[in-house]
Amino acid sequence: MIEVKNISKAFNGNVVLKNVSVEFYPGKVNFIIGRSGSGKSVLTKCIVGLMEVDQGEIIFDNRNFTKLDRWDRKDIRQEMGMLFQGSALFSSLTVEENVMFPLQMFSKMSKSEMLDRTNFCLKRVNLEGKNKLYPSETSGGMQKRIGIARAIAMNPKYLFCDEPNSGLDPQTAIVIDNLIKEITYEYGSTTVVVSHDMNSVIEIGDHINFINQGELWWRGDKREILHSDNEELSKFVFPSHFMQEIRENLKG
């Protein structure tokens, strides 16, 4: 479980996160949703330690991440996997080398064991036989799947996905969503997905946290989100007249 307690973050006096407290549960797909610029990416970067919080605490299974120095954070970091918005694959490495990278750096496996694990991860994301391709030779959807394979290579306890569907067609997006959901249930990992794609939220979201103007505005599950009276949330979930009509029908 990841507990975020009263964190705040500002850049040059511009407050981006205001006293945000939120929990992310193991074995569940936890969503952070919100408009562009609402602070959800900053929140994620603070949780994974790419940014330092100004105040507050982030606790990974009773381990206070904010109070640890860089060296002590290493243990927790090795339990994290992250899928980036742009996949962030190492362009100079092949698909196989990308997936094998964390294993080479941290595991004590032999080369053949690492290769077996890499092939297992690639098979898990339906990319068998693509080992020798370079990221530039693969499609956007494949790059996301390679990113997932790399993220799960070390059996992560915590899986973070930043806008996993951005730039993908709806069908490929559903494939990626299902993959995230399956992996979460399979590994029992605490998965945190940052997104503004409502299809994903409705499809795979177990717990949803709505961030607005740097504050946690609403939390609940995907059924509650459809019936919520929170005005800002409704504007976000049902942005067009057409969607609002659907909502009225749902209510009716």
Partner: protein, 247 residues
Amino acid sequence: MTKLYINIGKYCLLLVNVFTKPEKGKIYRKLIIQEIDKIGLQSLGIVGLLSLFMGAVVTLQTAANIDSGWIPRWTIGFTTRQTMILEFSSTIVCLILSGKVGGNISSEIGTMRITEQIDAMDIMGINSASYLILPKIIAAMFIFPFLVIISMFLGIGAGALVGTSSGVISLTDYEYGLQYYFELFQVSYTLIKTVVFAFIITSVSAYHGYYTHGGPREVGESSTRAVVYSMVLILISNYVLTQLLLL
């Protein structure tokens, strides 16, 4: 001025991260070998070409400027040797390499930064500064002296070839000039300078790449800054080292 101090502070902090104990020595050794090839061996062509032509031109220009009968012809060989060993093969070659190697390092690391590849490493728990920069620094400090030695031989050799074939000097005179008042320490001095320049080129360029923010335009700007700052620091350190080591 405050910005300068901030940059110096950030540069020093980056170096502290770079020189911390590597995660896996075996992987770093492999990376160093790759960097020796990329930074050093792939620069052989440009270094060789420059040195050949500079050695030839220095020889011809010295010959053209000696119009007094009081100045012996062997001075041509002596001047070519001193020019190549003391300045050209170290300082000028490193200035050229700061453009080729420094620009490359800065844009490579800068692109990794803006495409979140460095963030990916940090999240995995890898010391990205050390992983990306340390092999480049070690590789450059190791291979640049070899490039400089090759440059010296090529320049002096080209001078001999052009000087004798154009008839401005005999091979005997040229050889006499090369050997005249030769001090081995001058070679040591130039190699010491080269190692310092190699450190400046790689660390300064890596610093500018590592702290790139934004998009492709900023990567280009970082590369330009990396080359300019490297060149300025090479020139300043060249002066300081000459003052310290030769006088």
